[in-house]
């Protein structure tokens, strides 16, 4: 976020949106398509390398009594495994690698973004939409592969009078189609809003410091920014949790469409 000071405009207020800009680091063109390596790509790569590195290093010892790193790795495993088992039953554990990868990626990307000057990958809707679409398509494929046409029962609730059934089915379909939208928008909106708020309060500090006698008030927004940083840390974790939780719920629908 420190880099955003470069975006200072004539008003003296740092531009709160500047932190989300994407720059091409290594321009790549494939058949006219822009596939450049951008700062977003860099931080996604960083997140993946961090995750892989962490689990590689922490599980080196493989001791029965874990050291700190190993117990952290085991805790994260237990956390996701419990979530998945509770919502899908034992049959769902087959999809654990998928769910765990999503959890680790979202959590790492969210928390990486809190480091000043770093880019928040999950504050871009294209990234969260890609993740949500991945879940949505997985649910469709698993649902039809496991249950065949029975998967369509998901749209036909039991005990509904035949007269209003078409309307209810239509509503259920819209409800189903809205899932990937809310799934992606929630994560994206939370990260975006949090980072903009942090930036605005940071900007207040700078503006007050440059406003003569009003500089005595500058610590107030600074305190607010500190409190907000703590809140953002909570939100970063909560949103990773919610994203994973919903993934588990949707997978459960694919495995047991009849409720």
């Amino acid at each position: 976020m420190a880099a955003a000071n470069a975006g200072t405009q004539g008003t003296g207020m740092p531009d709160p949106i500047h932190q989300f800009e994407i720059h091409r680091l290594i321009p790549i063109k494939i058949f006219g398509w822009d596939a450049s390596f951008t700062n977003a790509s860099l931080f996604m790569l960083l997140a993946v390398l961090l995750i892989a590195g962490f689990y590689f290093v922490s599980m080196q010892a493989r001791s029965l009594v874990p050291n700190r790193l190993q117990s952290l790795a085991e805790m994260s495993y237990e956390f996701v495994a419990k979530m998945l088992r509770e919502s899908t039953g034992h049959g769902g554990m087959k999809y654990f690698p998928f769910v765990f990868t999503i959890f680790a990626f979202v959590l790492t990307a969210n928390t990486l973004g809190l480091i000043p000057g770093f880019f928040t990958v999950t504050s871009h809707i294209i990234v969260t939409a890609a993740l949500a679409a991945m879940v949505f398509i997985t649910v469709l494929i698993v649902g039809f592969a496991k249950n065949g046409a029975k998967f369509l029962q998901l749209f036909v609730p039991q005990g509904v009078p035949i007269v209003i059934l078409p309307l209810v089915v239509l509503i259920e379909i819209i409800s189903f189609l809205s899932r990937p939208v809310s799934h992606s928008v929630r994560l994206f909106a939370n990260m975006l809003a949090g980072h903009i708020t942090l930036k605005v309060f940071g900007g207040f500090v700078v503006m007050l410091l440059g406003a003569g006698a009003y500089a005595v008030l500058a610590p107030l927004p600074l305190l607010m920014a500190i409190a907000l940083t703590a809140l953002e840390l909570l939100v970063a974790f909560l949103q990773a949790y919610v994203f994973t939780m919903l993934t588990c719920m949707y997978l459960n629908d694919a495995l047991h469409p009849g409720h």
């Binding site: 819209i174 809205s178 919610v242």
Partner: protein, 136 residues
């Protein structure tokens, strides 16, 4: 008191009345302290659970809003697309916009049901006691 002496095990000796009273006092004091610590620990555990549930409640709340908006957006989008395709502007848009609204309410209701059952399972309905209430 030969009978009383017989019932005593080896190594024990008769307590004088003062000693017995002091012993009783110590026992009851210890009992009081244990009770206090236990009550405090229970309260702490409860406050922890409350804090955790508050965090989750926040996450759930944010979910609901997104759920509602997403369904309306998808409904409106479908209607708009169908209108554009069938040239029936603006009727299908209006219809599907409303259906989207209904789907949103359905989503929120389902989310609430899940949340409620999860909270009841974790806390047994006893939640929020660590938060000071204005009414009290």
């Amino acid at each position: 008191m030969p009978n009383a002496a017989d019932r005593r095990g080896p190594g024990e000796r008769q307590l004088s009345p003062e000693e017995a009273a002091r012993f009783q006092g110590r026992v009851s004091e210890l009992g009081d302290r244990l009770g206090r610590i236990k009550a405090q620990r229970d309260a702490e555990a409860h406050a922890d659970l409350d804090a955790e549930m508050r965090g989750r409640g926040m996450a759930h709340g944010m979910r609901m809003a997104a759920e509602m908006v997403a369904a309306v957006m998808v409904g409106g989008g479908i209607g708009w697309g169908l209108d554009w395709w069938l040239g029936s502007k603006p009727w299908l848009f209006l219809l599907f916009f409303l259906l989207g609204f209904v789907a949103g309410v359905l989503n929120v209701m389902r989310g609430y049901e899940r949340m409620q059952s999860e909270f009841m399972a974790r806390t047994g309905g006893r939640i929020g006691h660590s938060v000071p209430d204005d009414e009290d």
